[in-house]
Structure formats: C-alpha cells, structure tokens
C-alpha cells in the first residue's frame, strides 16, 4: 500500500491578482514532498458545522519553489469555492491541501526535445509550471506556448510570459485573442485552428511533445488538428478545464 496523501494545513503566504477575475495564492506547505510541473493539488474547505467541499487546482509554480506552491484560481461568479477564495481568503489564512496529484500531464526539464504548449484561458496554469520550471532549470529546448484568451485584459501571466519570451533561451509565446483585440494587435485574432497550430509548430518540428490544457472544445479541436497535421496521438497529452470548475 502506497503512502497516503495526507491533508496538510497550508498557510497562505501571498495573494496576487493576475487579471480582474483570476487570482494566484501562494501556499506554504508543512510537509510538501515536491511536485512535477503539470500536477495539481486538492483543496478542502470545511464550515463550522462540518459541511465540506473539495476541489482540484493545478499548481502554477515551479518545483524549485518548494515548500511553497502557487495555485491560480479563476473566479466563477456562481461557483461555491472560487468566490470564497477570491473574496475571503487573505495572507495568513490556513487551507487544507493535499498532493501532488496526477502523473501523466507532467513535463520536466530532464525530458529533452522541442515542446509545444497550447492553453486556453486558465488552462495555461499547469503549462506555466512547466514554463517556469524550464526557465529555472536553464533548459534551452525550443518551446512555444500558444495561448488563447478572450481579450487583452484576460491574458493570465502576460507580463511574465512576455518577459520570458524575450530572454532568447528558446521559449516564445504566441497569443491569440478571440473576442477583443486592442488597437495595433499583432498576434492572432481567432480561435486556435489547424493553420495557427501549423505555424506555431513549424520551428519545433513534428517530433515535438505537446501539452494542451483548456476548455473541452479547445482541447478537442487542437488535439484533433495536431493529429491531422501528422503528430502521433502518443505525443499529445491533454487536460481539460470544463465549465464545471467552480
């Protein structure tokens, strides 16, 4: 029998707004065993009378930050958990957490070769853990992030991505804005499609490892398009952020 993933009492070390509706929480964990980029944690909230809920959140931070992990949470207006996290939780609060969880949607700098990351909205979160880890580990493998957001104000981690993209270490980000583009926008301005994926993939080659995370429709269409382009299904790993994530 494997060692159980015990619940730990994490302390909220910091809170940081990413966009109007997206906020990151830094959690310090007392017994963290480390994670691999792409993994998630479970969070449990319990009320005075014992009512309790659990949710899963992808880890946004790189393993090198241990024993601190960041989660990035989109506020779902009619949700039960995300409004609480946004509106109530402040630094110094404690939250029950266990993890890390998930062993397939993971990438580590020890895995060589070109890397294509495709994200939609808050689906960028587990990809960000990979990108941060890659930078921290000094990896130089050609890496592209294709990130789909609705509008300019909704790009999560925008400054950090643009900064990392400018470091000439092989990482570049390509943005697409599907609903609203600012004046002079030079990025893509449509939903992710086969032509867009071909362009972003081109400098990486067809052997690239691919990680796709986002809403189901985006993940389905991007994965299908990459298979049509000629990638083997075994090269493509997916994770869905459904509309039920509250």
């Amino acid at each position: 029998m494997a060692r159980p993933l015990d619940w730990q009492l994490a302390t909220v070390a910091g809170v940081h707004d990413e966009t109007d509706a997206v906020r990151s929480f830094s959690l310090t964990l007392p017994a963290w065993t480390g994670h691999r980029p792409g993994q998630h944690v479970d969070l449990r909230l319990t009320s005075e009378d014992g009512y309790s809920v659990e949710r899963s959140y992808s880890i946004a931070s790189e393993p090198e930050r241990a024993p601190e992990v960041d989660i990035t949470v989109e506020r779902i207006p009619d949700g039960e958990v995300s409004p609480f996290l946004h509106d109530v939780v402040v630094p110094g609060d404690r939250l029950e957490v266990r993890g890390p969880i998930g062993g397939y949607f993971v990438w580590e700098a020890s895995q060589p070769g070109p890397l294509l990351l495709v994200g939609g909205g808050s689906g960028v979160v587990p990809l960000m853990a990979m990108i941060r880890h890659r930078a921290r580990a000094g990896a130089m493998n050609p890496t592209r992030l294709l990130l789909s957001s609705r509008g300019p104000g909704e790009i999560i981690y925008r400054e950090e991505l643009d900064r990392l993209s400018a470091t000439q270490d092989g990482f570049q980000v390509a943005h697409t804005l599907t609903r609203e583009q600012p004046p002079g926008w030079s990025g893509y301005a449509r939903r992710i499609d086969e032509a867009m994926l071909s362009e972003v993939l081109d400098p990486l080659g067809r052997e690239a490892r691919v990680y796709i995370c986002g809403p189901t429709a985006l993940v389905e269409s991007a994965a299908n398009a990459l298979v049509r382009i000629g990638l083997a299904p075994s090269q493509i790993r997916t994770e869905r952020f459904g509309p039920t994530g509250t």
Partner: protein, 208 residues
Amino acid sequence: MTECFVTRGFVGRRSSGGPEDVASRIPPGQYITRDFPVLSAGPTPRTPLEQWTFTIQGLVKQPVSWSWQEFQALPAREWTVDISCVTKWTKLDMHWRGVSVDTLLEGVEIDDRAAFMIAWSDGGYTTNLPLPDVLNGQAFVAYEYDGAPLAPEHGGPARLVVPARYFWKSAKWIRGIRLQAEDEPGFWESLGYHNRGDQWREERYSGD
C-alpha cells in the same frame, strides 16, 4: 490530524445539500454538476465502425470477437445511473443504453482462475477491475447516451460504465476485455490513482 479543521469564513453554498434523497446520493467530497464534463489524457481516437471490434480474451476457453453490427445485436437495455468522477463532479440520473458485462461474458466459457478484468481501449488506455465488481449488473458497455449515439469525446462509439467506481474505471473507446488470474494496474492506477476507486470510500489516490 485535520479532520476537524474549520476553514475561516467558509460557509458553503450547500449546492450538494438539497432534499435528503439527493444529498444521500452524493459521495464524500463530490459536488453536483448538470453538464457532462470531458476528461481524457490524449486526443480522441476515431475508429471507423466497420473496423471496430469488441474482443474477450485471456482466461477463456475460446476468445470471442464481435463486429459493430454483431455487438448491436446483443441483448441491450437502458440504464439510469449516478456517475462520480475523481475530479469531484457527480452527475445524477445519467441515461445510457448498452450491454451488461454479464451478457458479454455469456459469450465465453470462463476459466476458473479468472479473477480480474482488464478493459482496454483505442489509444492504449487500460483499467483494471476485480471480476466480482463487474458482474450481476454492476457494469455495462454503453453505446448510447441520452437517446443518441455516444459522442466520441465521451467515449463513443462504446465505453465501459461502472457506476460504483470513479469514472476513470469506465474506460472510454473500449475495444475489449481480458480476463486474468492476477491483478494488473491500468493507466491511472499506475499513475497514483487508487487501485479500486470506490467513490463511497473516497478511494481517489493510491494509499487512500
């Protein structure tokens, strides 16, 4: 250690409360969803129906393989079941049509040593179940959901459904089952998820 920890300021919406009969159908740590979330580890496989087969092999006297047409001719029935995914959603009263594993196994003569069933799928996915957990109406292979052919992203043309286990045990795109004497952890069971996955015991992860 933390069983009685109270999260400061958390009240909760009790969306999973409601009438007593509904609350009693929600396993621990789960919440009710109305839509049908999709979770898969890779691209959705698409096997043309004319190439599709369903095979029972392993510890059986004579393996059997059905074409799509033959599979459709097997005795099927409607199922209304509650489904719980390890990612925390529970969906009540899901309507399926499909063939029970009991009916499928009537097509073979099972070796006495057979104790486990490995379901395998297009795309290489596998999941393991003890034979007693899938007999007597506890599992079926579904090809319709809500009166329509099962959509590819939900596992169509056919998927296993094992309502008493977390949904990863309900292998999408199933193509066959293999009976074995020994247990053999499947895809998620080898990646940190619980070997049995009983949602009422909250067996999410290895060691739970």
